[in-house]
Amino acid sequence: MQNGLIITLPQCDDATEYLTYYSKLVTKEAEEKGIKIKEIHDDELNLKDFIKIINKLDYNFVVFNGHGTTSSILGHKSNVILKVGVNEELMKDRIIYARSCNAAVSLGVECTKNSNGAFIGYIFPFVFYMNEQWSAKPLNDNIAKLFLEPSNQIPISLIKGNSAKESDINSKKHILKNINKILRTPSEPDTPFIVEGLWNNYLGQVVRGNGSVKI
């Protein structure tokens, strides 16, 4: 297996647009570290192409952005690209971060069976609030940033050489710091919603498989 990053970047609705924009900060970090990167965009985000890419490149680190269920992750629109009982064995011995709802429940478990790899994901929906006024410039949306920077911390910590478990812990600390920051500033009407959402992600984020593995 080669040292490299495969990252899915769907842009089929406002939520995936945001995830893809924030992923630029992850790929920038990988570039700076000289890690090979394969970005997968909408036209390749289907099951057939995804399998082909994984088999051809055989990179050890995979980041998924996109909608998910307990047993699958989607690519472009409703295209399933990873599913229990279909192709989860392709994830064997890799490190995976899935910024997708609920995928750690079953998919994360199956991807790390008989594997030395790890799967970091969520057992709840991954949520974030966005400020509609900034939807055209997601990186300027200070509300979304409170959610998406801590989640970016997972792949960025891995790229910096931390283990899966250490990266999970770093990300969770970032969530708690953001909650603290929000609670210490004068209360705004959106404060309880933001704290509630951040707490949801904090509770739902888990590591499956080998927590000590590094890329």
């Binding site: 909608h67 997708s100 966005m130 600390k173 710091k177 603290n180 609670l183 309880p192 949801n200």
Partner: protein, 80 residues
């Protein structure tokens, strides 16, 4: 589900709806894993309907209230 549990569930839904109506700014939208993120009005509709998205919004609220009232939230926040 017992009548008592149904009553509690309905009360929680009403509480969540009242909170969203009263406090959520109209420029906020919630992304929670479905195709499009939800406006304030859409969140209220889903909670009212008691569908999957509505249930997730209610669960998120319950988990938060539990953490707040038990002291777990502040304990964790103060640990960093």
């Amino acid at each position: 589900m017992s009548g008592e549990k149904q009553g509690v569930s309905e009360k929680i839904k009403q509480l969540v709806i009242a909170r969203i109506k009263a406090q959520m700014p109209p420029n906020l939208k919630l992304s929670m894993g479905f195709e499009n993120s939800l406006t304030k009005e859409e969140m209220i509709e889903h909670v009212k309907a008691g569908d999957e998205q509505g249930a997730q919004i209610v669960n998120m609220h319950i988990n938060f209230i539990k953490a707040l009232t038990s002291g777990k939230l502040m304990k964790e926040v103060n640990s960093v």
